[in-house]
Amino acid sequence: MKVALFATCLVDTVVPQVAMATARLLERLGHEVVVPPGQACCGQMHVNTGYRREAVPIVANHVRAFAGAEAVVAPSGSCVASIHHQQAMVLRRAGEDGLAAEAESLAERTYELSQFLVDVLGVTDVGAYYPHRVTYHPTCHSLRLLRVGDRPLQLLRAVRGLTLVELPDAESCCGFGGTFAVKNADTSTAMLTDKMANVLSTHAEVCTAGDASCLMHIGGGLSRLRSGTRTVHLAEILASTEDAVTPNQTTKPAVPA
């Protein structure tokens, strides 16, 4: 299958290894990966902060960039949720009905990574090897907007060498929330502290999730505490094999980039 990769603005700019891992993984599974060069952002941050009118051209750019793609995959539950639940609404409100219809049909072809692997490709064992103790945080938008359920856990359970430990109170929000993390920094930090306490209680080396944004928040807190537990995106774990495992995925890609 020919898969168009939507890196997302955050991953592309700040944690490129996550998108690279996604691409390597899909290629390893025998699919052709294309990266439409016109891509930028899904518009979520603008919409969720109140700039829904300003988001219109961003969404329009996204729809243009991926026009004609057979399937779009993004390593982010949150961005895919925005594509599914917000893009058409934002366009329609601005009177862009034609574009809204295009956005809707694009949304139907857009998948979060774990959903794409399990539902579309029908694989749970992607042939990965990752010899670490790992705990999984279900991010809110993948959990409640996309309903990815236990798909990420199915994928993780099939990874060779990986010890999966259950995260207590896993479903409670980590406190990221986009601009919430800055506008309500104190409350966000209070939520983060409880999340970190739960992560640390598992004695995992790695906390993983399907969203780079939440991981940047949790990982930023863990790093500030010098806790030694790091955050690694699900895609990086799934991309790892015996030939390409590096111990420090937060700073080096799991696969040679």
Binding site: C173, K183, T189
Partner: protein, 510 residues
Amino acid sequence: MTTAPERDLRTDVTPLAPGAPRSGTTFLGLPTAPRGVGHLRGDQSFPEAARTALRDGQLRANLGHATSTIRRKRANVVGEVPDWEQLRQAGKAVKTATMARLDEHLVELERQVTARGGVVHWARDADEANAIVTRLVQATGADEVVKVKSMATQEIGLNEALEDAGITAHETDLAELIVQLGDDKPSHILVPAIHKNRAEIREIFLRTMQGVDPELTDEPRRLAMAARKHLRERFLRARVAISGANFAVAETGTLAVVESEGNGRMCLTLPQTLITVMGIEKLVPTWRDLEVFLQLLPRSSTGERMNPYTSMWTGVTPGDGPQEFHLVLLDNGRTAVLADEVGREALHCIRCSACLNVCPVYERTGGHAYGSVYPGPIGAVLSPQLTGVEDNASLPYASSLCGACYDACPVAIDIPSILVHLRAEHVEAQEKVTPEAAAFRVLAKAMSNPRLWHLTQRVAGLGRFLARGKPTMPAALPPPVSGWTRSRDLPAPPKQTFTQAWAREHGGRR
């Protein structure tokens, strides 16, 4: 013949009156809840109030304990109903249909209540409602009233208004009594004293209850007995009771109060005169509709299969219960909410408080940080709409949009979507360009033009020089980034973006 082009309110950027709700079909200037009366506005923004509240370790412990207990109970009793989701959708459908013809149902309710011997009063806002109730109490000659726990009377500040007129209001709900005796404010819509623990309650009782046993312990039963003794005197003495209502049935004119303690029923049956203050959105068209809500409410609110007391009354019954019944129908901004096609869903709320109990923000900050009698997720969407969003502009942002509230809500109110909508209403109500708006506009330009975007990414990448070879950025960065770096490290940007790397690898310049 030519006509002037009509303003398209969906796209027209001309600012409306500050705080006026704006959206598709809004007509201009529906009155919102007035300032200077009632409890819908705080004196601090949410982030400021939250900063203080978050430092209160006792509050955090009390709330964490209480909300996790009730969350567990709720999950259990909701889980055992096989058709919960259908029930929830039925609740939503009944509410949506009711709101669409609210005016007709209200007139029907008035007709039925009047026909059965009640008197209906219409109150445009808090001031009018307070004046009506005060006048009604004065007409009886009473100088004190007993009260059933009610959000509407808290919203309008009725107790204060009565006090100004020399009338003492006694709260009879146990938690509300604790709040009143402690000279405190409610912090939860169902358990107003959720922020207090047993030891604190004992201390309040010892300090404020006349004739209380000095040996009082913090055992829940002992505390309840002390309150019972305190209240019993007042029940027997009271000639006037004031209540809210959970539901009103338009077709029969029946009012309903749902409670756990029975204190409400004492108020509803013993006094001579009963005055009920009810928000206009609380009605259901038919008796059968109650079937849905009386299943949804107790499981969602207290985590019980059925609540201990459901009191219903229809007008007056000679020789049985209050012989004089007044119903005050309160707008106080509700019609303005109804006019907003996205925000109106907030009027479906049955005040079960499930959304508060599952909210990770509420659980940590408590209810007082919201500055309104309606805290938590529902408060964050209801208060700004009742007052006009500019009077409560920080509330729509008081959420990480995690969506737990939507999942828990028994009438499926999409609170996160309303929050996002209200954020936009706030942004669009600004007449001047704020620094934030300017930044978002520039970013929007960049993100909608690939060439500009790549340039922006390259500039952002220069941030790595600030990190001077370290994997993370310095912790002391200027605002607004400081909001992040105060508690979290920020990774240093990489040398090249993914799209750059990919394009290099695949031979293009990208």
